[in-house]
Amino acid sequence: MSRRVNATLSCHPERRRRCAAGVEGPAVLTRSHFLSVLFCFLLLFTAFSPAQIKPWNQIQPPALPAFKPQEPIRVQLSNGMVIFLQEDHELPLIDATARIRGGSISEPANKTGLTDLYGEVWRTGGTKTKTGDQMDDFLEARAAKIETDNQSDSTTISLNCLKGDFDAVFEMFLDLLHHPEFRPDKLELAQEQMYTEISRRNDNVDSIVHRESRIIAYGKNNPYARVAEYATVAAVTREDLLNWHQQYVYPNNIIFGITGDFDAKAMEAKLHQAFDSWQKGPEAKAPDIKFTEPKPGLYFVRKGDVNQSSIDMLDLGIERSNPDYFVVTVMNEMFGGSFSSRLFNHLRSGKGLAYSVGGGVGSGWDHPGVTNIQMQTKSASTVEGIQGLDEEIDGLLNNAATPEELKRAKDDILNSFIFQFDTPEKVLREKMAYEFYHYPLDFLERYRSEVEKVTAEDVSRVARKYVHKDRMAVLVVGNDTEFDKPLSTLGPMQELDITIPPPPASMMQQGPGGQ
């Protein structure tokens, strides 16, 4: 029986943001994600009750048994590489990831897309002695994976295999780590794929919103918002990929995590043997990025082929190291993060205006996240929707959390806390993130006790501190021929031109499309 195609509908749209502490996902849509979302659409009578049946509110759940998650072993090699080993003997599998400092925020603006190409071609371009295709044959025959990827602040190389294949797969992993070849045919292939992505980026509302909201919140020249264009992708050469590798891939820039069915001592010895002799290199330096508030106002993207508007109210958020972070997570849960949040209750269930609605103050590990309060509503209720969100923001600023709301938001977080560390792999990923961002390794425990302390006054205070109605930028993507009222009735409006800049003439000789 095959796995089902995405022809399912769920009652809850995927949330755009995680509220609780957790590992930050890739900050940008990767190519493979883009291609997968592209095709992702559609797609009583009880006679009597015996006495022992209790109504839900009379059930006293017993205390949760004490659970001490298994902590990974941390080892630091003399060359600076940090290793975490986490045994997990349930299944005969091994999974490892090396996260390397340096990502898209460090690439030159005129080569935006460089790390996307690097993250793809590192793997597909093969090693000095094996082509990427040969690696594919070898790995797929074992149902094993070695993959490379890229994020805003790092790149990764990972493996996943049955434990019996580990030695062979790890040998190939090391070969790719040390001797990547970045073969030109695979660079060309990856560039073609990025051209496809660029050519299709205005087809779907989601991809427009994802891109434009970051541009508005961060500013178009901010490295967290930059967009790859035909010209910047075409400008990337094989030399650039080799140079990137040369500049960043050193043990002192790497955090390596491994989990699975192995003996930690034996595995540690194996890793020492593999990595001890690797020489240190230059430290990866994070770029110094200036963050400025978005320019408030109403921004409009016209899209003629839709009957629903996407509304996003945007601002700069906070860093997770901010002492207010814990209060912010409680506020977000109450305001727009849960099944019974104010936004969900009022705008979805109460007014039937939206299927997708939610949001809150965003947070990043080492830079301000994007505050985004969003909904999608039919074209004919666009202005009503904006006003609805406006009122909710007023409500957040003026109406303190009721005792019930506060309790519920805290209970949501605290009672589900176990799910932050219920598998050895989650614990490992968490620790790797703390190590990467220089957070205290007990951040998760602190998170819990800080959430417990949050009061209604705290929530009001952080709402006033981080939610500024007059400073927010409002992005509307939709079909204005069907709007309930012109957007201009809400104030001055700026229409955004999202026309895709055509490929430079020099590129038209041989691409895109090889014409």
Binding site: S2, F45, W56, T196, N307, A354, Y355, P512
Partner: protein, 513 residues
């Protein structure tokens, strides 16, 4: 290069003996308890004591294929309503709310009767009836405690609270700390016994927004709705799960209640439970609460098999978005003896960078950004489609996609796949099964699904035996059977400039109420 392949073949023989084969089933059987209650409800419990948490997956064997003729989207609507509470949950005063909700239904029926009149509709009367209905809704809304069901689950540590509907089934799922098992049993049995259709007509508007988001405002959403409507004529797979806009604006809470009574019966449901759960303690709790569901006979199968297709069908969507190619061929349901052969074809064509479509269309011909062949579209329970799709690179066309796909199909028909390809499929299937055992959520879904579809969760493992038996000759035979020109439906998006594209007519207007 030759040496490389010699080595590869040698290694292939080694991995043929993977740690997990069907004979290892015995070791997993010890972790599983299956219980069918006297009322017909089946529970499959897999003990996985790694951490004090559990996940469940309730599968109701009714999906949009069961939507009545006048009410497409009803199965999915019912799924939304299952979050609206019960007489105990979601209300300030059920005794007063109940008659208020009855009034909503009465006034709506009166309004609908006038609204759908073909002749002699009285506009003034229509407006009055609409007002009366809207007033009744306002009166009933006074008693609502919004989203209390979800609130109780989440504030007791529930995560991943969700549900889905597809053509074949409706499912409910979340995870909780394991000390909440009795609360879980109370909540879930309550909503499977006494769902209350409160806020129905506002939720209909929420679902309309969902339709706009997934279907109307997405190019591939627009294409697939038309494509399935063309590929299927008799089988209900031709109708969208989300429902047509007109039906979404007319069906009633009474329709949903009727659907619920017919299909949400114990013998038509299976619950998968996975986590830190001791069957000796948990099964009695499950029996105590879910045993309350009344014994009702399994609903009758109302179904028309799709007649054989005898001509090529085609849908062209002139759209402002970039080109896209899709084609599908009818195949029999998942119970067909060749089911695993279709899986083999899909795997060999599409799985990863060694797959045929990747290598031919993406790597070598350099005409597509992505291409794949897949089965199970849009469901599996009835005869469905094996489909192919291609995303052309800039400057390349749908015609090139079609030609390249057909070349690959011809190859399957006329030449055997290689030993390595067939072995990769078998190895990957086993490894994927192992990987699937690592999550409570995934496992709960698998158990409920296999128990429902095969009457025995063990088929999850026994499937490997069927996979092992697939031969090269099977792949050729099935390819020749299925991939015939007269069995083909093609759907394409042809790019048109935005200015000449009319706004979608469907569901653009304001909602009722």
């Amino acid at each position: 290069m030759n040496r490389w392949f010699a080595k590869l073949t040698c290694l292939l023989l080694l991995v043929a003996a993977l740690p997990l084969a069907a004979q290892d089933l015995a070791s997993y059987e010890k972790r599983v308890s299956v219980k069918t209650l006297p009322n017909g409800l089946t529970v499959v419990l897999w003990r996985r004591p790694e951490a004090p948490v559990f996940s469940f997956f309730t599968l109701v064997d009714a999906g949009s294929a069961q939507d009545p003729l006048h009410a497409t989207g009803l199965a999915h609507m019912m799924e939304h309503m299952a979050f609206k509470g019960t007489p105990d949950i979601g209300t300030k005063d059920y005794a007063a709310e109940k008659p208020a909700l009855q009034k909503v239904e009465q006034t709506y029926a009166a309004y609908e009767a006038e609204r759908i009149k073909r002749v002699n509709q009285d506009p003034q009367k229509l407006a009055q009836l609409k007002n009366a209905w809207e007033q009744a809704i306002k009166d009933a809304d006074k008693y609502v405690v919004q989203n209390q069901f979800g609130e109780i689950v989440e504030s007791h540590g529930g995560v991943g609270v969700n549900a889905f509907t597809n053509y074949d089934e409706t499912a409910y799922m979340y995870s909780m700390p394991s000390n909440m098992i009795e609360l879980w049993a109370a909540l879930e049995s309550d909503r499977l016994m006494h769902p209350v259709m409160r806020e129905f007509y506002k939720e209909r508007n929420v679902v309309m927004e969902e339709r706009r988001m997934r279907t109307d405002s997405q190019p591939t959403g627009r294409l697939v709705e038309q494509f399935l409507g063309t590929a299927f004529m008799a089988n209900p797979y031709h109708r969208p799960t989300i429902g047509y806009a007109a039906d979404l604006q007319s069906f009633s809470a009474s329709d949903a209640a009727e659907f619920f009574q017919r299909y949400y019966v114990p013998s038509n449901m299976v619950i998968g439970l996975v986590g830190d759960l001791d069957p000796a303690q948990v099964l009695p709790i499950v029996e105590k609460y879910f045993g309350q569901l009344a014994t009702t006979s399994k609903p009758e199968e109302l179904f028309t098999d799709e007649p054989a297709q005898n001509s090529v069908r085609e849908v062209t969507l002139h759209d402002p978005s970039q080109p896209f190619y899709l084609e599908g061929y009818h195949r029999p349901s998942y119970l067909a003896p060749d089911d695993a052969v279709y899986d083999a074809i899909s795997d060999i064509l599409s799985n990863g960078r060694t797959s045929r479509l990747y290598r031919s269309m993406v790597r070598d011909k350099k005409i597509a950004a992505f291409a794949a062949g897949f089965t199970g579209f849009p469901g599996i329970k009835y005869g469905h489609l094996f489909a192919f799709y291609g995303v052309p690179l800039p400057g390349h066309t749908n015609e090139e996609m079609q030609k390249a796909v057909h070349e690959e199909i011809d190859k399957l028909k006329t030449q055997d796949v290689s030993d390595e390809e067939l072995q990769m499929f078998k190895t990957r299937t086993k490894a994927d099964l192992i990987r699937g055992l690592a999550s409570n959520e995934g496992l709960a879904q698998q158990l409920a699904t296999y128990q429902t579809r095969y009457g025995d969760w063990r088929e999850l493992f026994r499937y490997l035996d069927r996979v092992d038996k697939v031969t090269k000759a099977d792949i050729r035979r099935v390819s020749n059977q299925a991939f015939a020109e007269t069995n083909r439906t093609v759907g394409i998006i042809q790019t048109q400039t935005a200015s000449s594209h009319p706004a979608p007519a469907a569901s653009k207007g304001a909602e009722q109420q």
